[in-house]
């Protein structure tokens, strides 16, 4: 049975999409149950794969139509799930289930709901397919279905002009990216006349010809367009902003994680090029630039989801930097941050969705004081905001600190310094969102805003708890999930060995050496449980002293009726229109770097052609770089 698990995980989602397309509008409950069953089954199948792959450490391979390789020549399409793809598969299928659960209530007010679910299942199926496949052209097809479905979902609210415009821009840029990936696939096929990743990896083992380098450059740029790395990131904010929140959660949760998996698979396993310092430098430089520009643009936004979009670009910059370091610690940091990013970014997009569901707008200048009307959403937002900006007890802190430590040990001190400043700016922009949307004065039109229904809050709570658990027990997360994945990344010989039969790999890899076992004292993180005990004792000691000290809660005077005593002090004025929020925060920073912010504002001018030009220029620059430096 374990042999068929990969294909089952993918097929259940495709079949679900097919059945939902059949049901159409007729029966809502039936459709929801089908969607839930499909996503849940796929998650269960992925979980069942955990024991054989990470538990016993072997790799499941599955040849479509049982076309085994003939005389060491792969002709059929092979699926291959090793620790790395299973690691990605786990948290991706989890966020698919949570997003499905969330969208039942969230999409209720929209029209054309069944089309939404068809596209939703197609996208998730294609991402799962992309992660588990071991075949190059199959990866291209899955990426194409994913882009296709995300464009349709971006333009889902077609009564809004912005959604349609974002959809068009996304498909224009996305199709350029996909064409680059297809071109690279064709060139690799022309060189090796096979499409199986393992076989290509074997033949590519340290004999790079010009054509393979050309394919490498195109492949990296193609995936960079999918991951929205900086020069190609212009489309992301528009797409994330206009798509429904449960979908933008998937965009930032699984779509760009799949692209990161693509880069990892291509650079580490297929090309084994990560020991070349030039490739490492390219990725680190690209990651740092993405990180910095993403967060500085986010500071200047005054729409909630657009701000979150720029943040997911900057967090992906962290992941790319972590991966680019190519040291054991760096890859662990990068992978752990990819997992954390899916959790807290998904959480924040769901909060944005909850705010949109309750108030109808996500414009920070109009919102205010929602914490009183939506206490749970506000608390969840605070957990998400603190974990993304790396405040200790939450999970963002662990992975960010591993990346700082790894980059500083690898000798890239400026990268560490920029990463730290970006993390502080992330905290700044989320304080801005908290102040303008959740705290402060409640505007009159949101007077009777209600908390979102339970079925939307359950996924949010699950993710919030995962964020906290990820922060408190990092050593268990890394031991069971991330270290095996990092080992798999650094040791591609095993990947080739299992896929193509026993002695195939030994022909190319003279030493089947194992990757350096990543045993490190978990850098930068003391046993967090002892910390918690410490916090607990202090809290206990403090409340004891406080209760004795006469400021027990009886003394807090609080009342809800209109009494001047409980008004906010606004130099005597009645503080109705006095909400400070949105774009009038951080005057000091914006004024100090006004030239930089004006330049950035001019570059993001919204014209599709300029975006396409930036993609083409990136391709040119990367090509030049790869040809001159990578040997």
């Amino acid at each position: 049975m374990t042999q068929h698990l990969p294909i089952l995980a993918i097929i259940t989602l495709f079949i679900g999409a097919f059945i939902v397309a059949l049901i159409k509008e007729k029966n809502e409950v039936l459709r929801n149950t089908v969607v839930l069953i499909a996503t849940f089954m796929s998650f269960i199948f992925t979980l069942m794969m955990y024991k054989p792959i990470i538990g016993e450490g072997n790799i499941i391979t599955y040849w479509m139509g049982n076309w085994e390789p003939v005389q060491n020549w792969a002709i059929g399409i092979g699926l291959e799930v090793d620790q790395l793809s299973l690691f990605f598969g786990l948290f991706i299928s989890l966020s698919i289930v949570l997003s499905a659960l969330y969208s039942f209530k969230y999409i209720e007010k929209e029209t054309g709901k069944d089309k939404y679910y068809v596209l939703f299942l197609m996208m998730s199926a294609s991402v799962m397919g992309f992660i588990f496949t071991g075949d190059l052209f199959n990866m291209y097809v899955m990426i194409e279905i994913m882009t296709f479905a995300s464009v349709a979902l971006t333009a889902f609210r077609n009564n809004k002009p912005e959604a349609v415009e974002a959809g068009f821009k996304y498909i224009a840029i996305g199709s350029i990216g996909s064409s680059l990936i297809l071109l690279a696939t064709v060139i690799i096929y022309a060189q090796f006349h096979t499409l199986n990743l393992a076989q290509i990896a074997g033949e590519l083992h340290n004999n790079y010809t010009i054509t393979t380098l050309f394919a490498l450059a195109l492949m990296v740029v193609g995936y960079a367009v999918k991951v929205f790395a900086v020069p190609t990131h212009f489309v992301a904010p528009d797409a994330y902003m206009t798509a429904p929140s449960s979908i933008s959660m998937l965009f930032s949760g699984i779509v760009n994680k799949a692209a990161v998996y693509g880069i990892l698979r291509v650079l580490y396993v297929v090309y084994q090029s990560m020991n070349l310092p030039s490739v490492q430098f390219m990725l680190i430089f690209w990651g740092t630039v993405t990180m910095f520009i993403g967060v500085t643009m986010a500071l200047a936004q005054h729409d909630f989801k657009r701000l979150l979009a720029f943040h997911s670009i900057s967090q992906i910059g962290y992941v790319i930097t972590g991966i680019g370091l190519a040291t054991a610690l760096g890859i662990t940091g990068g992978l752990y941050h990819a997992l954390n990013h899916t959790l807290f970014k998904g959480l924040l997009f769901l909060c944005a969705g909850a705010v949109y569901y309750a108030t109808g707008t996500t414009d920070l200048d109009k919102l205010g004081g929602l914490a009183k009307r939506m206490p749970q959403t506000a608390l969840i937002f605070i957990i998400g905001a603190f974990s993304i900006s790396g405040i200790p007890p939450f999970n963002g802190f662990v992975s960010k600190w591993i990346i700082y430590q790894a980059s500083y040990e690898a000798g890239y001190a400026p990268v560490t310094i920029i990463a730290l400043i970006v993390s502080v700016m992330t905290l700044a922009s989320f304080i801005k969102v908290a102040q303008s949307a959740f705290f402060g004065q409640l505007p009159k039109e949101f007077k009777n805003v209600e908390e979102v229904p339970l079925s939307m809050r359950v996924p949010m709570w699950i993710m919030a708890i995962l964020c906290i658990v990820g922060g408190i027990f990092p050593s268990s997360f890394t031991k069971y999930l991330i270290t095996p994945a990092a080992n798999a990344v650094m040791n591609s010989a095993k990947y080739v060995e299992v896929m193509m039969g026993p002695e195939f790999a030994s022909k190319f890899y003279n030493n089947l050496g194992n990757a350096p076992v990543i045993d490190y004292k978990l850098a930068g993180y003391w046993q967090p449980i002892a910390w918690l005990i410490l916090f607990g004792i202090l809290l206990l000691a403090f409340t004891l002293v406080a209760l004795l000290g006469g400021f027990n809660p009886k003394h807090f005077s609080y009342s809800d009726e209109e009494d001047a005593k409980y008004d906010v002090f606004y130099s005597g004025e009645s503080a109705e229109f006095s909400h400070v929020g949105g774009s009038d925060l951080f005057w000091g920073l914006k004024y100090q770097f006004r030239h930089y912010f004006d330049l950035m504002h001019k570059i993001h001018n919204g014209v599709v052609n300029d975006y396409a030009l930036s993609v083409v220029l990136t391709a040119a620059v990367v090509l030049l770089y790869v040809f001159t430096f990578v040997r």
Binding site: L548, D563, A564, S571, G572, E573
Partner: protein, 147 residues
């Protein structure tokens, strides 16, 4: 348990909040001169607090002009108990030369009971300090009454 300490605290560190309801600034500069090195009210713990929420003694100066009337009422309501209202100079006491004018809304005790009033136009800094010391005693009585 801390009651004795709180009483000592109230006595030794009362914070002022200066509320200018249209005064000619004669009393204001006198009040500020109280915290200059020569008179130095800070050695008794007096400090001018930024917001009414932090204040114990509210020093009102100036006849209550119509503009500042409802602002006065709102700010006075926002000061936490135990609080003491001190009228500085004769304007808040009786609107001085301005009483009967179209824009003066009458003495302060129409809006809040004046606990200590410091006469003088403007009162000397020593007089202000003596008045504040008197106000601190009233503050302690109010705290005892509040318990």
């Amino acid at each position: 348990m801390f009651e004795k300490l709180i009483q000592k605290g109230l006595e030794k560190s009362a914070w002022l909040y200066h509320l200018n309801t249209g005064s000619c600034n004669g009393c204001d500069i006198e009040l500020v001169s109280v915290i200059t090195p020569r008179y130095d009210a800070e050695r008794f713990g007096f400090k001018i607090a930024g917001s009414p929420r932090h204040a114990d003694i509210i020093v009102v100066s100036g006849p209550i002009t119509s503009q500042s009337r409802d602002r006065l009422i709102r700010t006075l309501a926002q000061v936490p108990e135990p609080k003491v209202v001190v009228s500085l100079g004769s304007c808040p006491r009786s609107c001085n030369v301005f009483n009967g004018s179209y824009c003066v809304e009458g003495p302060l005790d129409k809006y809040a009971p004046i606990d200590v009033s410091i006469a003088g136009c403007p009162p000397k800094p020593e007089a202000i300090m003596a008045g504040l010391v008197r106000a601190v005693e009233i503050l302690k009585e109010k705290r005892r009454a509040m318990k």
